[in-house]
């Protein structure tokens, strides 16, 4: 990021804080409805300092990471199958669409019942929500591989494996990484939804605790900020990965 871009990001963030503060002051909202930014910032620093936030954040991060790996792995494999086999597409796609059309919020309690309140249910929920965009983007990416390039590789006697590694994956990579951008932010949603359906630890649980038994609304906002930052950080990881892998073409 160059200096100009950094400056514009800083200006827009300052404007966001100013509007937030203005709403609090003009609206005269009490602390338990909308705390001002400086109170949230103070609570955010305090919660990270005294070790309240850390274990919850680590738990959620672990759920997201495992859920993303499972969901993305399945999405890549099924997406490739959908692209290359009409039979797979006919047999599998109705179920994929049905699973995607059912709101994850409605499925989460059931999955929590089946997989328990621990890590497993969150990984499943995360995986499910990550799966769809990555499967679709993989399918689209693999299908868009130029038939002329495939014929060229065949004329040089490329094996199926060589076609996959040297042609199909590099050609589909921009599309796949686009799906991963969507998938990684959805993974955060999946982990929080999973925690709402039952958990012993995690940022989603902390939001509930702060709003309920603790009645610490600034902590709730500090947790929401943590969740948002986590989402942004993970998204940036994918963007950096994309620059590395796709780069100049």
């Amino acid at each position: 990021m160059n200096r100009n871009a950094a400056a514009s990001v800083a200006i827009s963030f300052a404007a966001f804080l100013a509007v937030w503060k203005l709403v609090v002051v003009v609206g005269g909202y009490p602390l338990f409805i909308l705390p001002p930014p400086e109170v949230v910032a103070e609570r955010f620093v305090q919660a990270w300092g005294d070790g309240v936030m850390t274990p919850h954040a680590l738990t959620t991060l672990q759920e997201i990471a495992l859920g993303f790996i499972v969901g993305a792995g399945a999405g890549l494999a099924i997406g490739y199958g959908l692209a290359r086999s009409a039979l797979v597409e006919r047999l599998v796609s109705p179920y994929i669409v049905a699973a995607q059309a059912t709101p994850i919020l409605a499925l989460a309690p059931l999955l929590a019942l089946w997989f328990g309140p621990g890590l497993a249910s969150k990984v499943v929920i995360c995986g499910l929500i990550v799966f769809f965009p990555i499967a679709v983007s993989t399918m689209v990416g693999i299908r868009s591989v130029d038939a002329g390039l495939l014929e060229m590789a065949r004329s040089f006697r490329a094996t199926r494996r060589q076609v996959l590694l040297t042609l199909e994956i590099p050609a589909a990579l921009p599309s796949i990484l686009g799906g991963m951008r969507v998938g990684v932010t959805l993974a955060v949603v999946g982990a929080i939804v999973g925690e709402w359906a039952g958990a012993q630890q995690g940022l989603g649980l902390l939001v509930n605790l702060a709003r309920g038994s603790l009645f610490d609304i600034p902590l709730m906002f500090a947790t929401l900020v943590t969740i948002a930052l986590l989402g942004i950080a993970l998204y940036l990881v994918v963007v950096v990965l994309e620059r590395r892998l796709v780069g100049v073409r």
Binding site: G148, L149, R154, F156, R157, T166, P170, A171, R249
Partner: protein
């Protein structure tokens, strides 16, 4: 590169099945013998099966009837003895020119040092030594086609098949590429079969020009170009050329599409 490479196509027939339509007969009983080291140009109206014929010879397409042999060994699939240059360069856009040119060697499992050794010679052969590190998108159409030709030469095929390789180039570049192809042929001694729409191109390059019938493609006539080599562009103005051109035009049936 070796001087072996007698290509024999016998009674080739290819029919394409298309959903909800009658099958298209692309080739019907096409036979041709190309001697080793010979340059043969194939010319014919659009859709007469010229490209299909090259795909059969390259082992990319199995004909319903007939066979292709190279030095008496049948071609049953993509074959390292046969190299095909496509109409478009078909380079991998995410790879450098160097990595595109050595792609066939990589697929064949050559270690990097051996690939690099051959790379220098291949780039030199097509005049691309200065562009080794460039991406295809940074090159002109002509340079991209040079890279594609170098790639096809990487495995040192005995027979070089070219499918309208210069049709996307402007007239002047095209003439230069024709002369360079002749120089390349003199240096490598490989057998060349080139499909083209251009009568001057066919006459300049070939020992024999094969004129095909409209679909389904068959041999309409074979016009020998009895002119000494090496040939240059000046040769294109001579009497031999105009006689050959007249004869080729006479055999091309009046669809008016070949120029």
């Amino acid at each position: 590169m070796t001087s072996a490479g007698r290509l024999l196509a016998t009674d080739i027939s290819v029919r394409f099945r298309i959903a909800h339509a009658p099958a298209v007969e692309a080739l019907d009983g096409f036979s041709l013998a190309v001697e080793r080291g010979e340059v043969v140009a194939i010319i014919g109206p659009n859709g007469c099966g010229k490209s299909t014929l090259l795909r059969v010879a390259a082992g990319l397409l199995t004909p319903q009837r007939g066979s292709v042999t190279l030095d008496d060994r049948p071609i049953t699939g993509p074959d390292p003895r046969v190299g095909l240059v496509f109409q478009e360069p078909r380079l991998l856009p995410w790879r450098s020119v160097a990595d595109n040119v050595t792609y066939p060697l990589e697929l064949a499992g050559w270690p990097r040092e051996r690939r690099d050794e051959r790379l220098a010679r291949l780039l030199d052969l097509v005049g691309l030594s200065d562009s080794a590190g460039a991406r295809p998108s940074q090159l002109s159409g002509g340079l991209r086609q040079r890279a594609a030709i170098a790639r096809t030469l990487a495995l040192e095929p005995e027979v070089l098949l070219l499918d309208e390789p210069f049709s996307a180039l402007d007239a002047l570049t095209r003439e230069r590429f024709n002369i360079e192809l002749l120089e390349l042929w003199e240096r490598t001694g490989s057998t060349i079969v080139i499909v083209t729409h251009s009568i001057p191109e066919a006459i300049l390059l070939a020992d024999r020009v094969v004129v095909m019938t409209p679909r389904p493609g068959r041999v309409a006539a074979i016009v020998p170009i009895l002119a000494p080599r090496p040939r240059s562009l000046d040769f294109l103005d001579g009497a031999i050329v105009s006689r050959a051109a007249t004869e080729i035009r006479a055999h091309l049936q009046p669809t008016g599409e070949a120029a």
